[in-house]
Symmetry: C4
Subunit: 223 residues, 4 copies
């Protein structure tokens, strides 16, 4: 019962569930049979959002590019929809950036929801996750535009391929497209692992479960 | 009794009730007989606010325009009070922008207040609605200045017509004035409909109402 | 006894109690005999803060002005400490700005603490008051620098008069110094009055008390 | 029992515990035998963070400096990792800035957690501490880059010494490195002292402890 509650709650927090998909083997909060629905839901949501933004800013895009939608060059606009690496970034540097940014995202989400360790107030987690994503963007977004979510990057990229930018969206940045697909998945697994090893294993049990190892119940309950 | 509580609460949330007026048939939270008072109240409030801003910045307006208040041209100032489309925006594009921005506003407000689905903490909704409006402005405000509320746009426009800008406030932007009046109303209806169809119908009933469809009560209550 | 609780709580909210001093006759939350201590406390706090900022930025001030501390001119620095009107602002415009900005401040503070009308969550009022002051600064600060508090303006002005800027701090802006002293006091009275007339009188009594028209004791204590 | 709860809780609040280490003699919340683990933990965390940032931005650093990592000069980059004083700041001015900024940090943290005096809501303290640090940075960061924490400054400085910037990181700014090590420790002690003298000693006891001096219990409990 309780295992079902968590992904739903987290999915509310800014649509940043993606990592929990990859991490569901570790966290065991999401049954495997629900994974396809989450994947398809996030894909469709992200694709629809890209199409909506295209509709909203079609006039502006046309005005700025004179109708010539390009991935590179002086009036490049593809990076409005999906991420591309900065010119100075190596493939390794870009991969490491997406990996680390997703580690930070997962660490943040798990700490915000860590009720055993002074987690955030119920009903404020979505706000805090938004601030977390803003912080990751400001601090770690310069290299790669912080996809930190496969479903935030691939569906809009597919949309741009269809909507007039062509197959350049896949070849640009030395075939960059696969990095924001794989690095966040590995990063989310690593983030969950780090949280388990360095924080969660050292948390005290919740009061109800009794008094283990002689530790006073009061200590954890008042955190 | 309870029906009175909801509009009051939402009206507190940044003055963004407007959409609920249009949507009161769908949401059934506001009795029809109360609609005129809400309409008149919002109209007077918005008109008074425009007059106050005019008073506050009369010196600055006079200094900047040399007393020549215009809707277009190098020292145009009418858009301080009501919205006008950017030069590149088509009528269809502008209408769609106001429509979609109001859809997002309503979706956000309804999710913030969705107590069946991990809604925001009571007493923090006004803050979150403010952040929501800020986000809509940053993400969707470039084309049209995001009126997303008929009563935020028409009364200040009337005020500027009277206060020295003249009838240009109605003819500018290919008679733009009717768009922020109609598009937000349709958008708010669509937003409520989308929330009903995609979220609210799938919410579990609140615990008190018992155990329906065999779903465990715990699941929803712990969300 | 219980009446003492209120100013303490509000004083926590960003140090913006000032208006309640002026308004204590209307709100009746602060006994008159406590007024002098509040006035002296705010004066000393504000004066000490100005001296601390002077100490912190003495090197920068000296570097920027070559030791010549002036109120006007190309390297004017007095407005770091107290407020001065923008060049285009008339005395009436400046007075009205400070008056209206303080009306908004008081309306905001009273609504944040209005427990009968979906007030803010206890423990979040200080944050919201900070956001309120930020909003007033962004929206209404251009003309006069939003003193909106006599004790925020006069003590730093006295400090600058002593610390090297001389009596120009009182003559600048057509003897501006008395405006941020008087306009906020009148504005705070007007703000409390507006809240009483347009909001508080229409609030429902708190359920438990059930004592209408006799004004239950609970009402003031829970502000 | 209760004494253990506090540092853990505060340590959650943005990693800004440092001052409580120095202040543990005054606050008596942290047993001395736990101090080494806190010192080592913060040192390792800060050093690892510096190494991670170096990894994340190695490509950008190399691109900007052509591989020549320097502490001063046109392409200086050392201040990305640890703090250096602005050119105009004297040693005394810099020391005073770090001292005062840490006084403000400690005053803020203690007030946020001051449950006897309308402290912040449990679960929102981390957010408020983040806003506090942002405010200190905006208001007091210009002179010295606000280290306000020895363990935020020395470990990254050591890292840069090793990673290619050399011993200049210790000689730059007239051997600045020892200031952000000592001034915050003294400042944190002073902050705790000021809070004790001016606020905490005047707080009423928590309701449970009974009714002292004839003061009603309700007064403090409703703050």
């Amino acid at each position: 019962m309780e295992t079902r509650a968590v992904p739903r709650e987290v999915s509310h927090a800014g649509g940043m569930t993606h990592s929990l998909e990859a991490a569901c083997g570790l966290q065991r909060n999401l049954p495997w049979r629900k994974l396809p629905a989450y994947l398809i839901g996030q894909f469709l949501g992200s694709f629809t959002a890209a199409a909506t933004v295209f509709g909203l800013y079609y006039d502006a895009l046309y005005d700025y590019t004179k109708g010539n939608f390009t991935v590179t060059g002086p009036t490049a606009t593809a990076s409005i929809f999906s991420t591309y690496p900065a010119p100075y970034v190596s493939l390794l540097g870009g991969f490491f950036t997406e990996f680390m940014a997703t580690v930070m995202l997962l660490l943040g989400i798990l700490i915000i929801h860590d009720e055993k360790n002074n987690g955030a107030l119920k009903g404020t987690q979505a706000l805090l996750t938004g601030i977390l994503v803003l912080g990751i963007g400001l601090g770690m977004g310069m290299n790669t535009g912080y996809a930190i979510n496969p479903s935030r990057d691939l569906p809009p990229r597919l949309f741009t391929a269809i909507a007039g930018w062509g197959m350049d969206v896949f070849t640009a940045g030395h075939h960059w497209w696969w990095v924001p697909l794989t690095a966040p998945m590995l990063g989310s697994l690593a983030g969950v692992l780090i949280h388990k090893l360095f924080i969660d294993f050292h948390n005290q049990p919740v009061p109800e479960s009794g008094n283990e190892k002689g530790q006073p119940v009061v200590e954890t309950s008042t955190l």
